[in-house]
Symmetry: none
Subunit: 206 residues, 4 copies
Amino acid sequence: MTPPKDRSRTDKRERILAAAVKVFAERGFYNAKVSQVAAEAGVADGTIYLYFKNKDDLLISAFEDRMSWINSRLTNELETRQPPVDRLRRFFAMHLLLAVHSRDLAEFITVELRQSARFIKEYKNPKFAEYLNILRGLIVEGQQQGAFRRDVDARIVTRALFGMLDEVMLTLVLSRKTPTEEQVAFYVDQLEKVVLQGLLLNPDAS
Amino acid sequence: MTPPKDRSRTDKRERILAAAVKVFAERGFYNAKVSQVAAEAGVADGTIYLYFKNKDDLLISAFEDRMSWINSRLTNELETRQPPVDRLRRFFAMHLLLAVHSRDLAEFITVELRQSARFIKEYKNPKFAEYLNILRGLIVEGQQQGAFRRDVDARIVTRALFGMLDEVMLTLVLSRKTPTEEQVAFYVDQLEKVVLQGLLLNPDAS
Amino acid sequence: MTPPKDRSRTDKRERILAAAVKVFAERGFYNAKVSQVAAEAGVADGTIYLYFKNKDDLLISAFEDRMSWINSRLTNELETRQPPVDRLRRFFAMHLLLAVHSRDLAEFITVELRQSARFIKEYKNPKFAEYLNILRGLIVEGQQQGAFRRDVDARIVTRALFGMLDEVMLTLVLSRKTPTEEQVAFYVDQLEKVVLQGLLLNPDAS
Amino acid sequence: MTPPKDRSRTDKRERILAAAVKVFAERGFYNAKVSQVAAEAGVADGTIYLYFKNKDDLLISAFEDRMSWINSRLTNELETRQPPVDRLRRFFAMHLLLAVHSRDLAEFITVELRQSARFIKEYKNPKFAEYLNILRGLIVEGQQQGAFRRDVDARIVTRALFGMLDEVMLTLVLSRKTPTEEQVAFYVDQLEKVVLQGLLLNPDAS
DNA sequence: TATGAATGAGAATTCATTCAT
DNA sequence: GATGAATGAATTCTCATTCAT
């Protein structure tokens, strides 16, 4: 019984993508060698070029594929009837939990998205835009429902919150050992205190 | 009468650093060629190696030199008797104003610090640590003086605020045209609303 | 009722040869990919290796097969009782008419024979030798019958005439549009004037 | 006393060109490796790319440089007051003597011009065109002065004569040993008999 | 010190060929 | 026989770094 061709092809493509995520996360795009990705995937160097146009394409494909997966999980998880505040908390948690459950991927996305800032901007980046849109949707909804203040631009807040999450994830990901879920919960709690309630003890006085 | 040698050396070193900041900002560290930096500095390729050990050292030196300058300006500016809240505002503003007054430098720091996340972390990064320390000092002081809430870890808040500022600066820096001071003031105002007063309209209810 | 195997084999081999002629003519041997030949022939890449040892063998086989065909047509056409001069004219015409009736083949032979000058010489080339022999036979016969001058070496004349025809065919084959029979007739006429009657208006004076 | 920079640069460029002519002649463009050319020239691989854009450019440059040299020698030699017939003879001789005096170059030009027929046509080839123009000038002048028949197109005759010379040179160049000047003189004599006086013993009868 | 030509290690990519299905 | 996915050897070209001048 031969495996269906599509299955086999898909498997190999996926193996290469997983290897790329791992190797790019470990060494960074520019220091990673295509041959290292091939070795990690257990295929010949040339095989990579059967599935991807070149090294850049491999990076972009890995990024898009993984972001798609993240976006669809987020979308599923957040399409609840819960109040916006709870969903924003959940978003924070899911963002940071990536460092617990898929450390390679967390590192890949955190480091590569930055490493390739220009690169990725130039070639557009619809999946990342989608990610930000999900976050922005939460903010806007919260504003409409009267949960969040309306005197701030949702677009700017989105960026600010993403920056926060991203930087915190970077510290998690660069630390010697993988964080636990409890540690992540603590971080989420801290971030909420800052951005939901604000740092000021006596806001009216400000 | 030739200029004092030290002066001349210093000048050339500075010219190379300025060129590195510009070229690395424009093309990214890995895509920038040493010969492009040399050309921009108006020196021969080999001359760079009289002042810096190698390309990595040039990056680190440029980063540290510029961060030192930024840190000292910050320190000067913030050693006032003003209340912590005002100083935090001032910190936000100074961070983002870099995009207005030294766009190359803002881009260099934003993009390179990311691009070289691991790289720069691995080789330690005392100047960046110092920058974060200044910010943390403001938080801690605010907490001690009763202006900021005490139930958050200053270290985490520091990271979160830095991430916010960094991400917002990235958007400023990657946009087609240099922002104005007014635009930056608007951004600062928005960020303050989020992190000082909090997003929630009715915090007690949360 | 399946077709006899030999027939099927022959067909496929022939399809591959035709494809090779076409693709090698279009792109040149070194720039042509085996996979392009396979695609043109409508077979899998690997199939080519069931019929030919390797890419070189495919080139040689295509060349020999086509030259055999050309030689046999020439032999048929020229085994008449016509005077040598007329047969030489006919030879010229048949050579150049290939550009009209089998442009791919004409291009393949003209360009590849040159491209592979050494290559083909090294591996011997009996079919090409046979082609030259037919031409030489005409010269020798003409000399014996007193139609052509005897104070020239038939071998050298053969080479010279072939070079002439080959170069003229190259120009025909590289021109934008396929030449017509009339154009070819004109070229033949011109070449005859040169090599049969000579360029000199007043030969005795020379 | 340092050698003038231009001198040194020119020398190295020339060494690389000479090496390219030799190696390309020996192995053909596609089978020749850039590293072989570098080794032959006694420089590092990378040095070649300081003087030439890429391997193609090296081929074209070598071809153009050598053709320029040939053209200027031809021009000098042929700008005499001698009758066209003598100058045509001289042209034949000079063409073929290349095989005696610069065997590598003769082989390079003969084989590469063919090997790269398409390649060179596509990228234009002014130096080769100039060579043909010199030859055509002789024909036309001969026609104008009444030495050569006028009922042939000089352009076609030019091509035909070049093809003859080229093919004969190919045989000289591919033979085991370098021909002598005497042998070349014999070939020239044979070619003259064919194209000046014509093959026919009794032209009027034709 | 300064130069910039030269170096050569290193990496991405191609493609003829193989072989399991 | 036929397929075409996989292989990996081979090659071009780049560019950080060196060093003779």
